[in-house]
């Protein structure tokens, strides 16, 4: 081979080497970059008026006067939408009338039962009231004006009308007069066309803006408020403005999704205008303001993490990590001391070393199964999952890391330390305790910090032994018997099993960012500590 070719090969090999280093760095950036970037969105974002209302209602934070002023302002801006829709829906959404009539009929039946009339009289009244309310429902469901008028005349001129005076049934007659006024004002023939679309539109608006003024109070907290975050509001605004339709004009038979403007559906009606109004004035309706929600870290979650923070998970991770350290540091350091200072190389020690290696290689999910089978099902440290069982399992997992790191740290202490101690008349024990251990302490600490990061991030061992998806922050003594949410497990849970995965992306990202920052912080501390030890050890020898 020519020298030139060999040189070229050499250079390209170096290029390949540098590429691999570049690959490592870019992998790190590609993985951490989006998580950092989007994770910050959980802490710093544009909060709408709904966010401030939620924080005030649920957590009691915020200036009451200011918020009520803002709410009044936003209500003023929303009034146009609500008024337009309630005007428009009069002839279209008649469900409330039907519901109310049914309710009145039920009330009347109860009223009748309490009257103690003779049986035939009672039956007759009931039959009459029944036919009356059914007649009204029929009128309401009809879209033919003439038919409605006929029915109403029939109801209003009913011979029994007098006997219903000052009973609940009287309300039906009032409803009749109210509805006949509406019938005279609006065009009923649109009902068939708009009913479905209007109900859908109202649901979308509820998601965006919160419940309508006359709505009954929803059960779930998530339905009490509109969109609390401005970025989500824009997504939901799109849902209001456009309807997803599938276009099958393509010959392949596979539908293509097209965004069809909802305004087209309501063309020619007053509702048409609310779409452009929403698009232009959403800011004055929702009043977005940039907030720094650092309390994300210390707030309890509400309504399965849709609102609020992640405190129980952080606390759970904290408990599990420190529990694991509590159970693994003493045996870990003692084992390291024994292996480095006292043990003689024989088959027993070799066996111990092989076992430590094996322990380090056991898959983490197997640790979880072992924790379930041993700590919970066999020796019953707790009746079911608990922080105690979880931290014991994690302790076994990090034990080899701690042993190896401590061993390395003790071996790194120069021999002169020990020799000097021994020559001063100290016993072997004393030399270890007073000379070697203090010198090795920073190194041991590094190992402990790294295993802390490991324990905080592990998920598989705690699935069966300690973690639950939803829970309140635990008191210290409760950790002995109760399971806890933990960051790692909740990340899994929120991004796979949660019912509204897309709605709470920011919570997921915030959680991942928090976990990664905890682990990175620990590792950076360890790296700095190690750099200082290296400097010191180099400086002294």
């Amino acid at each position: 081979m020519q020298l030139q070719t060999r040189k070229l090969l050499d250079k390209s090999f170096t290029g390949l080497n540098l590429f691999s280093a570049f690959f490592l760095i870019s992998a790190l950036i590609i993985i951490l970059g989006p998580i950092f970037f989007k994770g910050i969105g959980a802490f710093v974002f544009k909060g709408t008026i709904e966010y401030r209302r939620m924080i005030f209602d649920q957590f009691g934070r915020g200036n009451k006067e200011k918020i009520s002023k803002e709410i009044a302002y936003s209500q003023k801006a929303r009034k146009f939408i609500y008024d337009t829709i309630s005007d428009f829906e009069k002839g279209i959404i008649v469900e409330p009338y039907i519901k109310e009539t049914k309710k009145i009929y039920k009330e009347y039946k109860e009223y009748l039962a309490s009257l103690k009339l003779t049986v035939p009289h009672q039956t007759e009244l009931r039959r009459k009231s029944r036919s009356l309310h059914l007649l009204f429902i029929k009128a309401v469901e009809s879209t033919d004006k003439g038919e409605i008028e006929d029915i109403f005349n029939k109801i209003l001129s009913d011979p029994y009308r007098k006997s219903f005076d000052s009973t609940p049934m009287q309300k039906v007659f009032r409803l009749v007069t109210r509805y006949s006024e509406i019938v005279n004002q609006v065009d009923l023939s649109n009902r068939e066309v708009y009913l479905e679309y209007l109900i859908d539109l109202k649901d979308r608006l509820r998601i965006l803006l919160g419940p309508f003024p006359k709505d009954p109070k929803p059960i779930l907290p998530r339905n009490h408020y509109g969109q609390t975050r401005w970025d989500r509001s824009l997504v939901k605004l799109d849902d209001v403005l456009f309807i997803e339709k599938y276009d099958y004009s393509d010959s392949s038979g596979i539908g293509r999704m097209v965004q069809y403007p909802r305004a087209e559906i309501f063309k020619g009606t007053p509702v048409e205008h609310i779409f452009s109004y929403l698009e232009d004035d959403l800011e004055s309706i929702l009043l977005p303001k940039t907030v720094f929600y650092w309390r994300f870290l210390i707030d309890v979650p509400l309504d399965s993490n849709i609102f609020g923070g992640i405190w129980p998970a952080i606390l759970g991770t904290f408990y599990l990590t420190f529990g694991a350290l509590l159970f693994s540091i003493p045996p870990g350091i003692i084992a390291a001391i024994y292996l480095t200072e006292f043990a003689k190389e024989n088959w027993v020690i070799r066996l111990i070393r092989t076992c430590i290696g094996t322990l380090a290689g056991v898959p983490s999910i197997v640790f979880g199964l072992f924790g379930l089978a041993f700590f919970i099902n066999t020796i019953h440290v707790s009746t079911s999952k608990s922080v105690l069982a979880g931290s014991m399992t994690l302790a076994i997992l990090v034990l080899p890391t701690i042993i190896r790191a401590s061993e390395e740290a003790i071996r790194a202490v120069p021999h002169t330390y020990k020799e000097a101690a021994l020559s001063l008349g100290a016993s072997r024990w004393r030399a270890v305790l007073t000379a070697i251990l203090p010198a090795a302490l920073p190194g041991i600490l590094t190992g402990i910090i790294i295993s802390m990061g490991r324990a905080a991030g592990e998920t598989a061992p705690i699935i069966f032994t300690a973690a639950v998806s939803v829970g309140k922050p635990l008191k210290l003594w409760e950790t002995l018997s109760q399971p806890t949410p933990a960051l790692s497990w909740n990340i899994y849970n929120l991004c796979t099993e949660h019912e509204a995965v897309d709605e709470i992306r920011h919570v997921q990202y915030g959680m991942v960012l928090t976990l990664i920052l905890i682990v990175l912080l620990l590792n950076i501390i360890a790296i700095i500590l190690r750099a200082r030890i290296n400097k010191r050890l180099i400086g002294r020898t």
Partner: protein, 383 residues
């Protein structure tokens, strides 16, 4: 000393000190054995893990036997007619691990060479934390990345990404072959080193190769990826997760290779690449094999990433090497099924998960023993 004898307290202490070597020796040996016992905790843990996993796995083999478990692909633990064919799960673990190794070993070994021999000291101080941080990122964060960021990307534009990466990988390779091949060809054709002949030879070699690459990439970019949560996604992420292990273990064995070997090679006129490929890497072979084995162990034991991003479909893809199909692994099955099987402790549905865990455990145990052997051997050689 004289002064201290005045005080009876000190006198007593001295008496004790001199007269109690016996108690001291007993205390010392007592302490010694206490330390030994505590050191034994890790041995006991390993033993207990084996015993308890085995104890709960045994009832499954008693109830259902071995044959179906290892040969059938029908995995329906919760249906009325239960069947526990774990072959597809073994296959899922195998294909994902293979993919992870394909990603991590070449890059990892080259990066280790880069760390040990190419980079300057200060650059190495930057690379080491990068590797440490890659190793420290929790597996659930990798899983989150795979599921939430990487899977949609792969589903929408995966084929384009693959085509582009084939260009990135193959272009330098083709250029290199063209240049080197043209050198060899021209030296064979004419003894005079003529530039024109070299260029023509390079074109003759390069153009067909580039055409092939173009066809390959246009074929790849035509592939439809139906789901982003598939074996390819998991393999790439697991490969990145296994990288730090592979890099640091191979780096250790490469730096352990004696400097005199390198110097001898340079003295014979070898370039750095030749020294590394022909002398240093063969000398550190044992350590590199151990690194690969540790990488395999890391990939096969990983739970969260495969659980979140593998698609969890218990079937063997068609054709079997199709990385674009969802698969299901042993670890994901254990993690996913235990939530329900926990309710029915004692049933074969509960015990089968321990049987899967036992297989994993035995596999990693054997891998570990082999890895240790290789590390020991490489230590002997490099010394």
């Amino acid at each position: 000393m004289k002064e201290s004898r005045i005080y009876p307290g000190n006198l007593g202490k001295q008496l004790l000190n001199t007269g109690s070597t016996m108690t001291k020796r007993i205390l010392s040996s007592f302490g010694h054995s206490l330390l030994f016992l505590i050191t034994g905790v890790s041995v006991v843990s390993v033993l207990f893990i084996f015993i308890f996993i085995f104890r709960d796995a045994l009832p499954f083999f008693k109830l259902e036997g071995f044959k179906d478990f290892f040969t059938s692909t029908l995995w329906y633990p919760s249906s009325d007619t239960q069947s526990f064919g774990a072959l597809s799960l073994f296959f899922g673990s195998a294909i994902v691990t293979t993919g992870a190794i394909i990603v991590s070993v070449p890059i990892g070994v080259i990066a280790a060479v880069c760390l040990s021999d190419v980079l300057s000291f200060s650059l190495r101080q930057i690379m080491k934390p990068v590797i440490e941080i890659l190793a420290a990122i929790p597996s659930v964060a990798y899983g989150f990345f795979a599921l939430v960021i990487f899977a949609p990307l792969l589903q929408d534009s995966g084929s384009n990404i693959l085509a582009m990466s084939s260009w990135i990988v193959c272009t330098p390779l083709i250029l290199l072959t063209a240049i080197i091949g043209s050198g060899l060809l021209s030296s064979k054709i004419s003894p005079v080193n003529s530039l024109y002949i070299r260029i023509i030879a390079a074109l003759i070699i390069g153009i067909p190769l580039f055409a092939g690459l173009w066809f390959l990439s246009s074929y790849i970019s035509g592939i439809q990826i139906s789901s982003g949560t598939n074996a390819l996604n998991v393999s790439i992420i697991l490969g990145i997760m296994a990288l730090p292990t592979v890099v640091s273990v191979s780096d250790d064995s490469l730096t352990a290779v004696n400097m005199s070997l390198r110097e001898g090679s340079y003295a014979l006129g070898a370039t750095r690449a030749e020294t590394l490929i022909k002398v240093v890497i063969p000398a550190a072979k044992g350590g590199i094999v151990a690194a690969v084995i540790l990488g395999i162990m890391r990939a096969i034991g990983e739970t969260m990433v495969v659980w979140m991003a593998s698609g969890n479909a218990a079937k063997i893809p068609y054709p079997w090497f199709n990385f674009l199909e969802p698969i299901r692994t042993l670890t994901a099955t254990i993690a996913g099924d235990m939530g329900e099987a926990d309710q029915v402790i004692g049933s074969s549905r509960y015990h089968v998960l321990f049987a899967l865990a036992l297989c994993l455990l035995l596999f990693t145990f054997i891998c570990n023993l082999i890895g240790e052997k290789f590390i020991k051997r490489s230590k002997k050689i490099t010394r």
